[in-house]
C-alpha cells in the first residue's frame, strides 16, 4: 500500500526529517560513546603505555586528515547555501569536492593502516599478542575506533553521492533541500567524531 496512491496530498514535514536526523546522530554519538568510555578506562589504567604507543602514529598524516575533514565540512555547508541561492552547478561542484575530500581521507587512512599491517600490526596478529598489555589495548582501540569511523566515512560518502544524483536530477531544489541538509548533518557528525579521535589517538602526552 503505497503512500502516493492512498494519501490525497503528500505529507511533507522538513522539521520532522531534521529532527529525525538529529535523533539518529544522538544514537551515533552514543555508539561511539561506548568506545570512548572503554578508551578512558584503559587510558587511566595504562597512561604510560598509551603515550608510548601513540608515538607510533604519524601526527602529520593525522593532522592532514583533520584539515581535510574540516575543509569538507565547510564545502558541504557551502553546498547548502548554494542550492538555496538556486546555483545548481556550484552545488554539484561543492558536493564533488566534499566527496573528493572524503576519498583523500580514506587514501591517507589506507596508507596509515597499510604501514602498520606491513609491520605485522593488525587485530589478531601474532605481534599484537606479544605487545605489552597497554600497547595491545591501545592498538586494539585504535583499529576499532578508526575502523568504525572509516565505515561512517564510507556511509557518509554514499549519502553525499545520493545527494549529488538528486541535485542533478532536480529532486533537490532551492525549496526542498532537506535531504541535502540531513546528508550534511551526518557528514558534520563524521567530522566531529574525528575531531575527538585525533587528539585522543595521536596527541597523547
Amino acid at each position: 500500500m503505497s503512500e502516493h496512491i492512498t494519501h490525497v496530498e503528500e505529507h511533507r514535514d522538513d522539521e520532522a526529517s531534521k529532527l529525525g536526523m538529529w535523533l539518529f546522530i544522538f544514537t551515533e554519538l552514543l555508539l561511539f560513546g561506548g568506545l570512548f568510555l572503554v578508551y578512558s578506562v584503559f587510558r587511566m589504567q595504562y597512561p604510560a603505555n598509551f603515550h608510548e604507543a601513540s608515538l607510533e602514529l604519524s601526527v602529520t598524516i593525522g593532522a592532514i586528515n583533520t584539515v581535510v575533514l574540516l575543509f569538507s565540512s565547510m564545502t558541504i555547508a557551502m553546498a547548502i547555501t548554494a542550492i538555496q541561492k538556486k546555483n545548481k552547478k556550484l552545488t554539484l561542484r561543492l558536493i564533488s569536492v566534499t566527496v573528493l575530500m572524503a576519498l583523500i581521507f580514506l587514501v591517507n587512512k589506507y596508507f596509515e593502516w597499510g604501514h602498520k599491517f606491513e609491520h605485522g600490526l593488525y587485530p589478531g596478529s601474532d605481534l599484537m599478542h606479544l605487545l605489552e598489555r597497554g600497547h595491545h589495548l591501545y592498538f586494539s582501540l585504535y583499529f576499532f575506533m578508526t575502523g568504525l569511523h572509516a565505515l561512517h566515512i564510507i556511509v557518509g560518502m554514499i549519502l553525499l553521492i545520493i545527494c549529488y544524483v538528486k541535485v542533478s536530477k532536480g529532486s533537490i531544489t532551492n525549496d526542498r533541500f532537506v535531504f541535502l541538509e540531513n546528508g550534511a548533518l551526518y557528514w558534520h557528525l563524521v567530522d566531529l567524531i574525528w575531531i575527538f579521535l585525533f587528539p585522543l589517538m595521536y596527541l597523547i602526552s
Binding site: E15, G34, P123
Partner: protein, 531 residues
Amino acid sequence: MSTEYISFLDHQGKYKGIRSWIFATDHKRIAFLYMYAIASFFLVGALLGLLMRIELISPGETIMKPQTYNGLFTVHGIIMIFMVVIPGLSAVFGNFFLPILIGAKDVAFPKLNLFSWWLFMLGSMMAIASQLLKSGPPDTGWTFYAPYSTTTGTNVIAATTAAFILGFSSILTGLNFIVTVHRMRAPGMKFFNMPLFPWAIYATAWIQLLATPVVGITLIMLIAERLFGIGFFNPDLGGDPVLFQHLFWIYSHPAVYIMILPAMGVITEIIPTFCQKKVYGYKAIALSSLAIAGVGFLVWGHHMYTSGMSEQARWFFSLLTFIVAVPSAIKVFNWISTMYKGSIDMKPPFVFALEFIFLFMIGGLTGLILGSVATDIQVHDTSFIVAHFHYIIFGGMGFAFFAAIHYWLPKMYGKMYNFKRANIAAVALFIGFNLLYFPQFIIGVQGMPRRYFDYPPRFQWAQITSTIGGFILVSALILMITNLIIGVRRGAKAPANPWNGTTLEWQIPSPPPLENFDEAPIVKENPYDYK
C-alpha cells in the same frame, strides 16, 4: 462517520494478498505484523520455559542433559527479552494507537516503520538460526557475560549479531515515535493534552534511542573479541570482564523500563475507562514516566553488587535504585486513587489491569530487597532473582499486554470476544502465575541457584508446585488465545466505543479507516473527561 467508510482491513492498496501486509506502510498493518510475529515467538518461548519446568520436576537428569538445559535457558531468555518483551507493547500497541491517540494519520516516517519491522524479522531469523547452526545453541544466558562468552564454542556471534540487529530496529522505532509525538499531534493538542499511553511510549522511545546504541557497540566489541582477540574483556591481555558487565547493564537496565513503561501506560488508559472517572494526578503520571526513564539510566550498577565495585559505588547505586522506585509507586497510588469512588466495571481488561497492579507490586517490592546491597548479596544469582524479574516482566509487561489486547481488540478487529471465557482465563492465568513463581522466592532465599538444572531434594516441593503452576499457566494462555481467535472469527460486531472511553481511538469506527480520522478529531483539554 461518512458513508464511504472503508476499514483499513478492507482497504485495497497497490498490493494484494500477503504483499498488502508485508509491504504495508500503514501503522495499523505494521502493528498487526509485529503482533503476529511476537505472539508466535512468545508461544515458542513459553514452550521452552515449560520444558525447563518439566526438567526441574525432580532432582538430577529428568528429560535433558545439562548442556541442553544451558542452551534452553539462553534461548528462552534471548527470545523472550529481545524478541518479545522489548518490542512487545511499543511495537504492537504503540504502533497501532500512538498515532490515533494523538490524532495523527500515521507515524512520522511510515517507510522507516516498515523497515524497522523487516529488521526485526531479520534479527529474529538470525536469533533462531543461532540455535540451529552446527556449533550448537549459545549457552551463555541472555546476558552474554564475558569472559565465558568470548571463549565458549557455541554460536555466540550469530546470537549477538541478531541482538544487534534487533536493537537497531528498536532504535528506529523509538526515533519514529519521538518525531511522531513532536510533529504529528492533532491541532490543539499540546503535550499536556495527550493521553497517558502516548506519554509512556514517548518516554520509552527516548530510552530505546539513547540506551540501545551502547549495547550495540558492546556486542560488536564482544564479536571483535571473539574474532580478533582485541582484549577489552580479557584479563590476560590487560582487559577487564567487569567492564563488559558495566557496558551491558548501561543498556540492559534501562531496557527493563523499555518493557515496563508502555505497560504502565496501558494500565493508565484502562483504569479510568472502567472506573468512568477522570484519571487522578494526570501530570504526576505523565512526568513520572519521564522520571523513570531518566533515573533508570543511572541504576545499572545494582546488577553488579557482587562483581567487584567500590563501597561508594555500591551505596550510590543502591540509593538511586530506591529513588527510581518512587515514580513507579506514584503511578500505583494514582491508579488506586483513580478507582476511589469510581463506578467500577469488572470487564476483562480491568481484571487484567488489577492483576497487573498486584503482580507488579510484588515484583517492585522484591526489587527493593535486591536494590539494597546487604540483602542482594544473600540472594544474588538465586531463583529469588528469577521470581522477581518474572513478576516484573511477565506479571507486569505480560499481563499488561493481555490487558491491552482485551481492551483494544474490539477497536483493532471490529469484533468482540466472550467476556466469561476471558475472565476465566484471566483468573486461571493469575493462579498459575503465582503458583509458578512465588515458590521460587522461598527457595531462592534458602539458596536455590538460578540456571541450575539440578538441585538438592529439599527444594523439590517448590519445584513441583512451580511446574504445576506452569501447566496451569500454559493451559490458561491457550484458553485466552482461543477465546480471542474465536472472537475475531465469529464474535459479534463491536461498536465504535464499547467501553464508553473518552480518548480519541473511541471517536472513530472499529476497525479504523485507513487514515484514522475521516473528520478532524475533537481534542479535549483533559483526555479523560467523564462528565
